[in-house]
Each structure stands twice: as structure tokens, then as C-alpha cells.
């Protein structure tokens, strides 16, 4: 029983870390610009496809495919932000929601056209396969790897936010955009960089997720609800919130499916509604 619980917690936490990578960018940019970008999951999807294609066509090793996914999605996001999103910053929630949903549809169609509907498979290097035994419980190596990567990213983000100048600018822009602008901060530039970072992380998350969740053109839709739950429950503009929210959701989802398969999802949605009614800004939300 204890070992089952431990495995569920471990797997859940690993899934949560994936969700964290996929969501943190959205949380920060939402908190900064109030721009509801439902297409965020599409960056995760394309990150996965980039990684798969790079490994298959270019023969890149897995560890090189990951940063490639990150960089390619960061660049793509810059293009999309400049050409499309910029026009919608003042457009109101409904329009942003619908525009970005339209973008997800288009992205899914493009992915179907390019890669087909078949599930993509990634071939992990040997050292990432299998499991490790610890205290009589077998822990998956790959999942441990995911957790490690996510924790490194978190440390990097926290350090970056607290210690670098860009980090201070990001915090200022999230806290009070108008004031930051009034103090001479180039909010647009800060936003573009943050958006690129966030999308890059989503791409990285998508690449890592292929082995765990699979990859098909419907990835953007599948992950959308998870990502939205993490962001709204965790709180906009908060890395801590995304981390906690993602961990909770990941564990809750895996535990729910394992222990209470009939009503697992139901409980998650119930918690979502309950939390938002009590704390509409999320657990760690600022405004």
C-alpha cells in the first residue's frame, strides 16, 4: 500500500513537472499582459514534433533535441507575437480566447497535414530507460529525469527573477504594468522576451512529454484544460503558483485515475470550481 502510494505520488509529481513546464510561461505572460493565449499548448505540441523530427531525420541525440525544441519554439513565438498577438492586446477576453482557439485549430490542422494523425514515438537513449530500485520501490529513470530537468528550470527561473536585471523588470511588469512603463521600462520588450521564454519552456515540456503522454495533433487541445487549471488555480504571474498548481494537479490526476477511476476527474473539476470560488485569483495570485 505504501509503495503504491509512493509510486502514485512519484508519477503524479513527474506529470506535474511536465505540466509546470507547459504552463509556467502562460501564467507569467497572462499576469503581465492579461493576454489569454489558449494557443500556448500548440507550442508544446510543435516542440514535441521538432524533437521527434530532429531525432529521426537529423539523427540528433535526445539531449540535443531538447534544447532545440526550446529554441525553436522561442523563435516561433517571437514571430507569432509580432505578427498576430500584438494586435489583440486591448481586444477583450472573448476575442483573445476565440482568436487563440482559432490558432490552435489551425496548428492542429497543420500538424495533421505535415505529420499525420498517428501517435509519434520517441526513442529514448538507453541510460534513460528502465527503473531504479530504492527502498524496495521501483522508480522510473525517465520520470526522475523529468523531475530533475523541471527542478533545474525552476531554480534557474527563481534565480533569474530574483538576481538579474531582466528578472526585476519582469517582476515589475507583472506587478504593475502601467507604473513600470511610467518608470521607463520597455514593457513590450520585456513581454516579448518573457513570451519567448515561456513558449520555449512549453516546447521543452512538449518534447519531454512525448514519452509519457504521447504526441498527436490533438496535443494542444488535450493539454489545454490541464494548463488552464494550473494557471487559474496557481495564480496568474506566479512561478510558485504554477509549480504548486501543477504538482497538485499532476498528483491529483494520477491518483484520481489510479484510486478512484470512476470519479477521479469529477473530483478534480469540483476542486477547481471550489478553489476559484474561494480564491478567484488563484492560490498565489496577485491581482
Amino acid at each position: 500500500m505504501i509503495s503504491q502510494l509512493t509510486i502514485v505520488l512519484f508519477d503524479g509529481f513527474a506529470f506535474g513537472m511536465l505540466l509546470f513546464l507547459l504552463s509556467v510561461g502562460l501564467s507569467v505572460t497572462l499576469g503581465m499582459m492579461n493576454f489569454i493565449n489558449l494557443a500556448h499548448g500548440a507550442f508544446g505540441m510543435f516542440g514535441g514534433y521538432v524533437a521527434v523530427t530532429a531525432m529521426r531525420q537529423l539523427g540528433l541525440p535526445f539531449l540535443a533535441a531538447l534544447p532545440l525544441a526550446f529554441i525553436s519554439m522561442a523563435l516561433l513565438s517571437v514571430i507569432i507575437e509580432r505578427t498576430l498577438f500584438r494586435r489583440l492586446y486591448g481586444a477583450g477576453e472573448l476575442n483573445q480566447v476565440l482568436f487563440t482557439i482559432g490558432l490552435v485549430f489551425v496548428a492542429a490542422a497543420v500538424a495533421t497535414f505535415t505529420f499525420g494523425t498517428v501517435q509519434q514515438v520517441i526513442i529514448l537513449p538507453d541510460w534513460l530507460r528502465g527503473s531504479v530500485e530504492l527502498g524496495g520501490i521501483r522508480f522510473g529513470v525517465y520520470r526522475s529525469f523529468i523531475i530533475l530537468v523541471a527542478l533545474l528550470v525552476t531554480a534557474f527561473l527563481v534565480f533569474g527573477l530574483e538576481r538579474t536585471r531582466l528578472g526585476a523588470q519582469i517582476r515589475a511588469a507583472v506587478d504593475n504594468q502601467r507604473m513600470a512603463q511610467g518608470l521607463g521600462l520597455d514593457v513590450e520588450r520585456v513581454f516579448a522576451i518573457t513570451f519567448a521564454l515561456g513558449s520555449g519552456l512549453a516546447g521543452l515540456g512538449g518534447a519531454l512529454a512525448v514519452e509519457v503522454v504521447g504526441l498527436s495533433p490533438s496535443f494542444g487541445f488535450q493539454m489545454l484544460v490541464y494548463v488552464l487549471i494550473v494557471v487559474s488555480v496557481g495564480g496568474l504571474g506566479s512561478i510558485t503558483g504554477s509549480f504548486v498548481g501543477a504538482a497538485l494537479l499532476g498528483i491529483g490526476d494520477v491518483a484520481g485515475k489510479y484510486f478512484w477511476p470512476e470519479i477521479g476527474s469529477f473530483l478534480i473539476y469540483l476542486l477547481l470550481v471550489a478553489i476559484l470560488l474561494v480564491r478567484p485569483l488563484g492560490l498565489f495570485g496577485k491581482r
Binding site: 482557439i101 473539476y269 470560488l277
Partner: protein, 336 residues
């Protein structure tokens, strides 16, 4: 309060505005509307093979109408309204399965049921705004879906509800194979609900809703209990959505989990944006365009459908934010 001492400040010779006339003119029936409803009768005469599709369009249009009341007029962004559609559908279906197949009373009961649930939910909805509101509607929608799935002893679960049979409308008109009765029934319900909605949006209440949508901050400052208004319109909207769901159950004799799905909630919002929110007719027009396009395009290739609708959505939001009707209305204004 004593009447002010000064005289009204109008410049001599200026045109006098007759306020009541102006307001009356705004809610008059235009010839386009009459043509539109007459055209709705076409499927009976000209395209009888399309009667089942016409029936689906009428049902979906009624659902879209219900969402327009809260989205277009009151400004509540919802991604979970299918919950009321589905609740109405299952309610009407279940009472039919349990032995009462009379359509009109069954339909009214379904609408009432959905309306009551809507009233209860409205207390939750009015506590939140922005992203939290969207997520609460989303969460409630998924909740209802999971609940219906779990209660498969009542709903049939993933297999759907079976054994629905609907008695003849008014005791006279049996539901025929070609769909004449179905479409006539749905169209009649749609028209009646449309008339009621039209009266609502042209009433003092409709004005209050528009006030909430235009500037919710000003509402308490003029002494308005705007949350009470929102609860009322939400409950009415839920009831109408329930009627639409009930129509689905009664005219097609099937109810499945997709009546509660997120896709249905999202589709209806897309239809509204296409047609134009806050115009009632936009809801109907958007539904027609969406369903006809899907019928044609998805048949050829589902990819094309996703790409097409996605692209259309992006273009409409960028260039025609008031939807197709809004765009046409602006053209007409410019010409005058």
C-alpha cells in the same frame, strides 16, 4: 426634490427629439426579419431532404440564442453552457423513457429543470470575473459531463439514453420519418423563444444588461443591483438552453454525452462570434453558417474543416469583431 429654477438649454429652432418615438423605432420589426422567418419555411417546400439538418440547425440556433443573452447582452464569457443543454436533453429523455412521452409538457419541464439549476449556478457565476469566470463555467461543464457519465444507470453513460419515444405533438402530429413534424416543432419553439428573447432585450431589463456589458463599474453608482440582473438572465438563458436540449431528445429520440460536451460549449461560442454577438439574429446566422459549412467541409476532409474554421475565427476576430451581421450593419450605416 424641488424643480430646478433655470429654463432648459436648447438652442432656438433646433430639431426636437421625441424620445419615446425614437425608442419605439429601435424595436420595430424590419422587413428583413419578416423575410428571414418566411425563408425559414423553405425547407418544407423546396429542400425536404434537408429537413433533418434544418431541425439540427433550429435546435442549435435556439441554444446559440440562449448563449447570446448572457454573452452578447450581459457580457458573461462562458465555455460551459452545454451543461444546461445536456441537462434539458437528459431530463426530457429520461421522463420519456420512464413513460411520459408527451412532448410539450416534457419540454417545458426540461426547460424549468435547467432553469432552476441555472438559477442555483448563477450565484456561483456572479462571484467571479475574467479568467476565474471562464474557468468556473468550464469546470462546471466538465463536472456535469463526468456526473452524467458516472450515473450511467440513469443516463446510459457512453452508450447514450435509449428507449425514448415521443408522442404526437398536440395529440395530432406524429413524428414522421422525413422530419416534417420535427422541424415544424423545433421551428415553432425557436420562434416563440425568439419572440420572448426579443421582448426581453427590448425591455428595461435588456437595457440594464447592456449597461452591465458596457460599464459594470457604473451600475452600482446608479443604484443598480447588477448581480441580481445577471442571476436572472443566467437562469433564463439556462432554461432556454434546456429547451433546446429537450428538443434534441424529443425530435431525434437520442441523447448522448456529447450533448454535455466541451465541444458543444465551444462550438456555440464560435457560432456567436461568426454571426455577431448581441444581435439575436447573429446567433441564428452564425449557427446556420457554422453547421452548413461543417456539413459540407467535414464531409470532404476533417482537416480542412479545422483549418478553415480556425482561419475564419482568426480573420473574424481581427477584421470583423462584431461578426458578419455587425459588419453588414456597419456597411448599411455607412451607406446612409
Amino acid at each position: 426634490m424641488t424643480t430646478p429654477v433655470t429654463t432648459p438649454m436648447t438652442t432656438p429652432g433646433a430639431a426636437q427629439v421625441e424620445p419615446r418615438d425614437w425608442l419605439r423605432r429601435r424595436s420595430r420589426w424590419s422587413p428583413f426579419e419578416i423575410v428571414f422567418w418566411l425563408a425559414a419555411l423553405l425547407p418544407f417546400l423546396v429542400l425536404p431532404t434537408y429537413l433533418p439538418l434544418a431541425n439540427q440547425v433550429a435546435i442549435a440556433a435556439l441554444f446559440a440564442l440562449s448563449v447570446d443573452l448572457i454573452l452578447g447582452y450581459a457580457g458573461i464569457v462562458t465555455l460551459g453552457h452545454a451543461m444546461f443543454f445536456g441537462l434539458g436533453a437528459y431530463f426530457a429523455g429520461v421522463i420519456s423513457v420512464r413513460g411520459w412521452g408527451e412532448p410539450i409538457t416534457g419540454l417545458l419541464a426540461a426547460g424549468l429543470f435547467a432553469g432552476i439549476i441555472g438559477f442555483i449556478v448563477s450565484f456561483l457565476i456572479t462571484r467571479v470575473q475574467h479568467l476565474a469566470l471562464i474557468m468556473v463555467t468550464l469546470g462546471l461543464g466538465f463536472l456535469t459531463y463526468e456526473l452524467a457519465n458516472a450515473m450511467h444507470w440513469l443516463t446510459g453513460g457512453t452508450d447514450g439514453l435509449r428507449g425514448i419515444s415521443t408522442w404526437p405533438v398536440l395529440g395530432q402530429f406524429r413524428f414522421d420519418m422525413w422530419g416534417y413534424t420535427a422541424y415544424a416543432y423545433s421551428l415553432a419553439v425557436l420562434f416563440i423563444c425568439f419572440l420572448l428573447s426579443r421582448r426581453l432585450v427590448n425591455s428595461a431589463f435588456g437595457l440594464a444588461l447592456r449597461g452591465i456589458r458596457e460599464n459594470v463599474k457604473r451600475m452600482p453608482a446608479i443604484g443598480a443591483d447588477h448581480k441580481k440582473h445577471l442571476r436572472l438572465v443566467y437562469a433564463i438563458s439556462a432554461a432556454i438552453a434546456g429547451l433546446a436540449g429537450g428538443l434534441l431528445a424529443q425530435t431525434t429520440n437520442t441523447v448522448a454525452l456529447d450533448s454535455l460536451s466541451f465541444e458543444r460549449s465551444a462550438d456555440v461560442v464560435v457560432m456567436l462570434i461568426l454571426g455577431g454577438t448581441g444581435r439575436l439574429y447573429g446567433a441564428i446566422l452564425g449557427t446556420i453558417i457554422f453547421l452548413v459549412a461543417r456539413d459540407q467541409l467535414a464531409g470532404i476532409n476533417p482537416q480542412y474543416w479545422y483549418f478553415g474554421i480556425g482561419l475564419l475565427l482568426m480573420l473574424v476576430v481581427l477584421f470583423m469583431p462584431k461578426g458578419i451581421l455587425g459588419f453588414l450593419a456597419r456597411l448599411v450605416e455607412r451607406r446612409n
